[in-house]
């Protein structure tokens, strides 16, 4: 058994190397067409790719990927039209009873119906990863009142996930929801003792582009102790760039700048600059000097270009994308392969996000099952676990709306809701080390362990036990279709094969499989549907499933 897996891995690595070479040869900024497809993955390998590149495998997509091959599947995904959350929200708004307002719940409905039904899965999963780097959150009151704006922001992440990082950075910077979240909207130039708000200037450097420490291209620190990338003077200088921006609209009146006379589309149109409030003094940061009286638009271009071209961006963003999609502790070589692709997609273009995402997902460390007996892998985050169940078992919502609500409560929910991070620092930090743990002793990190505590582990188990058997959502109308599993329930070995493939990419240990089969077999009179529930729940409860390896 082991030998077979090894030889399969060797074969696929060889093919991936060839595939990557072809990819490099053909890729361009907007068109990353791959015409030659030599890789025919096994169902387990297909399930593995889908677990990292989508919200989770299902039987149909596994079949498809094994049939059309990896590169064709990626090409299809890159060319799928984006399904907009914005459209869902507008439809929801149109059907609201008179006098009621959109709520964040409508965004959650849209999020989960796309998790299940969206065919642009790669884009949706990439957007979810980016939403944990370029964080905004419904926990901010202004954003709570603007669910359509947040949906538009999330769509924007999906759009630019397949474009260039420089464009992504500008779209994030000028989005009015980000402007509200990090208070760059309505930020004013220096007047007397009043100084520009430094919030966005700080976080765009610390979290969105270069990070705190100078990095080698493989993600390691350049020096011991680390060399800091910027000083507070750099923040003060950069803060001046982010002055004078406020809501979109037909004029640049003070009333509009301060929020009056609202344009009906200001929740999603990029912010515009109001020259009366833009800093006229010299702006100096990171070795760049923008002369006095430079316009806001020119200043912004200079600033974003400087950040984009900083050597830290590739390893800093690349490592986080790897952590969100593949593994918590990528090797330096893996990070450097991604950073190199960020620096140059093979066509001399920096920041090609399609090329970066493909490199993250098709790296040998991503595509090859990692040996279990070490610190490999990552915890699947709670939202992804729920999504895995929904997709593997083809759930549908009888109302068509997927009313899921927020899932924040660790006691009986998941301690994680999309777009409800507690702060701009996301649900967890990329360098989180659980104290007093094996992970700490091995000098590893595990961001998702931050959400794993005495209460939330109970919440997850009870939540999934109910979802699997009774349905999920505020009225439990999100229910699975277990037809295929029921057909296998009287042959428990085959039932376990299927669940192992769908949820665990074929990596279930003989021990776990034996424990589940023993329970099924020791209760021979139990109903077939209960066997299905048991098999799925005990799998999803297991640390083996929770840790993607």
């Amino acid at each position: 058994m082991m030998r077979t897996l090894h030889s399969q891995s060797a074969r696929i690595i060889g093919k991936i190397a060839l595939f990557t070479a072809l990819l490099t040869a053909c890729s361009g900024e907007e068109v990353t067409t791959i015409t030659t497809d030599t890789v025919q993955p096994t169902p387990e390998q297909a399930s593995r790719i889908l677990s990292q590149a989508t919200f989770g495998p299902n039987a149909a997509e596994i079949n498809k990927l094994t049939n059309i091959g990896i590169s064709t599947w990626f090409n299809e995904q890159f060319s799928k039209p984006q399904k907009l959350h914005f459209s869902y929200i507008n439809l929801a708004q149109a059907s609201l009873p008179a006098g009621s307002r959109l709520r964040e719940d409508q965004f959650f409905e849209s999020f989960w119906q796309q998790v299940v039904n969206g065919d642009d899965q790669l884009r949706q999963r990439a957007a979810f990863a980016l939403s944990q780097i370029f964080v905004i959150s419904f926990q901010n009151n202004t954003l709570t009142d603007n669910p359509r704006g947040v949906a538009a922001y999330y769509d924007m992440l999906g759009t630019y996930a397949f474009r260039n990082f420089r464009e992504l950075l500008e779209a994030v910077t000028l989005h009015p929801m980000m402007g509200n979240y990090l208070s760059s909207l309505r930020n004013q130039k220096t007047v007397g003792a009043r100084v520009p708000d430094e919030n966005y200037a700080r976080e765009i450097m610390q979290l969105f582009t270069i990070g705190l420490k100078e990095l080698n291209q493989d993600g390691t620190d350049t020096t011991v102790p680390p060399t800091e990338t910027y000083t507070n003077d750099d923040i003060k200088g950069l803060a001046k760039v982010f002055t004078g921006w406020s809501w979109a609209g037909p004029d640049t009146s003070s009333t509009r700048f301060f929020g009056g006379d609202p344009d009906p589309n200001r929740d999603w149109l990029p912010m515009k600059n109001y020259p009366a409030y833009h800093e006229t003094l010299e702006k100096t940061f990171l070795g760049v000097t923008i002369p006095p009286n430079t316009s806001a638009e020119v200043s912004l271009k200079i600033a974003l270009d400087a950040l984009f071209n900083h050597p830290n961006v590739g390893p800093f963003i690349g490592q986080q994308l790897i952590q969100r999609l593949v593994t918590s502790n990528p090797s330096p070589a893996y990070v450097s392969r991604v950073a190199a692709k960020f620096a140059d997609n093979g066509q001399g273009i920096r920041g090609d996000m399609k090329a970066v995402i493909q490199t993250v997902l098709l790296d040998p460390e991503a595509i090859t099952p990692q040996p279990a007996n070490n610190g490999s892998g990552k915890l699947r985050e709670p939202v992804i676990r729920l999504a895995n169940w929904m997709r593997a078992f083809n759930v549908s919502s009888s109302s068509g709306r997927f009313e899921m609500g927020d899932l924040d409560n660790p006691l009986d929910e998941l301690a994680q809701t999309p777009m409800r991070s507690p702060t701009v620092f996301n649900f967890y930090r990329p360098d989180y080390v659980p104290p007093n743990s094996n992970i700490a002793t091995a000098n590893l990190v595990s961001p998702e362990m931050y959400l794993t505590e005495e209460t939330s582990v109970v919440g997850y188990l009870n939540f999934m036990r109910n979802a699997i058997s009774r349905g999920a959502g505020v009225s439990r109308n999100i229910k699975a279709d277990y037809t295929a599993e029921l057909a296998l329930a009287d042959t428990p070995e085959k039932l376990m094969d299927r669940i192992n493939l769908l949820l665990m990419q074929g990596q279930m240990s003989a021990t776990l499989r034996g424990q589940i089969l023993a329970m099924i077999n020791s209760n021979p009179n139990n109903s077939m549907i209960n066997r299905v529930y048991l098999a799925i729940f005990l799998t999803m409860a297991s640390p083996e499933y929770i840790v993607q390896k």
Binding site: A372, S446, E453, L534, A541, P543
Partner: protein, 486 residues
């Protein structure tokens, strides 16, 4: 007594085996060596004491929480903070709540006068009753930094990456730069855990995962903030069948993968603690009164105070102290929302109202617990940083030093400890020079977190050696007990 020695011996053996398992990896080796050091822990069973950290997440604008109102101070405040417009973050002097410390403060500015934010009335009452003290201008330091010139002197060590949320939070929580993933609450727990029959209730967070409570040998227990203890369903019977292997599966700490083992260990701890916690929570469900509502100063309507609810949970565990066999406990309660870059006037007013309401509720409820716990429990505030003294129009940015409250019957209250900084921003135009202002009114702290924390640790019962171990930089400061505890 005998039992305790046995426990330590078992622990020692366990650590030795961990040590050999760690093999040749150098960093974990050092880590475990330290852990072995802590085996010489204090066992304090004669009485009960608890420390409660009330964390103001995001960085509290303490310059609008405790204000200097003498004439020169107020002029500096007005210059820096008053825009003259509706969005001005300067508080009207007539709205402030005066406080008069027992020991008058006279310094280079002159005779200082003080007041609290207008929405801190319950805190003013606690201060006047001698149950609350203020510790001025506290922040992370490695060694003293006298002034701006010293700040610019590379020979004087400074905390890394000042003014960043994540770094200054880490510095407040951990105090030992060489062990940033462990907090001083948790490491105090490491020292005194043998005082408690149920050691997993030594360090308790009502607000999720905190570095503050992360110990090297002891894990924080993260209680749900509404205090409910819920069991995992399906442990014996599951979906119509018996012989459920659920518990074996979810607690399989023998897996070879480290993430799986660590996950299973959390689940095991959760199961271990659940019954004990349930006993406490059932027993205290009605005996510890829940907080009343507070008045939201922006709406003038009654509203629930989440911060007070978290302290309600803490009070219930404190009441269950005898059930749990606890003699020393450290709690962590987080209040979010303090990162007031904008809309500060309304946002901060509400936070101050809730802070004072929660603190007064907690102090009051402790007196009603069996044996009156109010002299045995000390609540103290902490925050990422103070904020800039300058205004950005309707808010403030990340600073460094900030003022804090210490509350409880064991506090020598109605005092302001430490030098109260000059309230003025350095301005070359006017010739004002604030020696502690490193830009925009970011103040060099004049009291280090180690001094603040070390004073609390001493009251808590740590030995001098244990205090030096938890706060290695404390030796860099001439005063190691600030004197605000009895």
């Amino acid at each position: 007594m005998k039992k305790r020695i046995d426990t330590s011996r078992r622990e020692f053996l366990r650590r030795v085996s961990m040590l050999s398992a760690a093999g040749s990896i150098s960093a974990p080796f050092a880590l475990n060596l330290f852990a072995m050091n802590t085996a010489a822990a204090s066992t304090l069973t004669a009485d009960y004491k608890a420390l409660v950290c009330l964390y103001m997440g995001g960085g509290n604008d303490s310059a609008n929480m405790v204000l200097a109102t003498d004439t020169p101070s107020w002029a500096g405040y007005q210059d820096a903070r008053s825009n003259g417009g509706g969005a001005s973050i300067a508080l009207p002097i007539g709205s402030l709540l005066p406080i008069v410390p027992n020991t008058p403060k006279v310094d280079a500015v002159g005779a200082r006068a003080f007041a609290l934010h207008p929405n801190l009335a319950p805190m003013q009452t606690l201060f006047d009753a001698g149950r609350a003290a203020i510790v001025a201008n506290v922040g992370p330091l490695i060694e003293p930094i006298a002034d701006k010139a010293a700040y610019r002197n590379d020979a004087i060590q400074k905390p890394a990456r000042l003014f960043s949320h994540s770094d200054q939070t880490s510095q407040w929580h951990s105090t030992d730069p060489s062990k940033p993933i462990y907090g001083w609450g948790g490491r105090m727990g490491d020292m005194i855990k043998t005082s408690n029959t149920k050691q997993n209730f030594t360090s308790i967070s009502s607000s999720g995962n905190s570095v503050f409570l992360a110990g090297e040998t002891i894990n924080q227990y993260q209680i749900n903030s509404n205090g409910t203890a819920v069991a995992i369903g399906g442990m014996t019977n599951l979906f119509g069948a018996g012989n459920s292997p659920l518990q074996d599966i979810i607690t399989n700490t023998a897996a070879s993968n480290l993430f799986e083992r660590d996950h299973a260990a959390v689940v095991q701890r959760s199961i271990d603690a659940q019954t004990d916690l349930n006993n406490v929570m059932l027993a205290t469900a009605t005996s510890v009164p829940a907080p009343t509502q507070y008045i939201n100063p922006n709406t003038n309507l009654l509203a629930n105070n989440w911060f007070a609810s978290q302290l309600h949970t803490v009070a219930r565990i404190i009441e269950g102290q005898t059930t749990l066999g606890a003699h020393r406990q450290v709690f962590f309660v987080n209040m979010g929302g303090f990162d007031t870059h904008d809309r500060q006037v309304t946002g901060h007013a509400d936070l101050m109202a809730r802070l004072a309401h929660a603190a007064a509720y907690f102090d009051g409820v402790l007196t009603t617990l069996p044996g009156d716990k109010s002299n045995q429990v000390t609540l103290f505030t902490a925050s990422d940083f103070g904020r800039t003294f300058t205004s950005n129009g309707d808010g403030t940015d990340h600073g460094w030093g900030g003022h804090h409250f210490v509350i409880g019957g064991a506090v020598k209250g109605k005092e302001i400890y430490g030098d109260f900084p000059q309230t003025a921003v350095t301005n070359t135009g006017t010739g004002i020079d604030n020696p502690l202002d490193v830009g925009s009114g970011r103040l060099i702290p004049t009291i280090s977190v180690d001094q603040y924390a070390g004073t609390l640790a001493k009251w808590f019962g740590l030995s001098p050696a244990e205090i030096s171990s938890v706060f290695p930089n404390l030796a860099n400061f001439p005063v190691q007990d600030l004197g605000f505890m009895v």
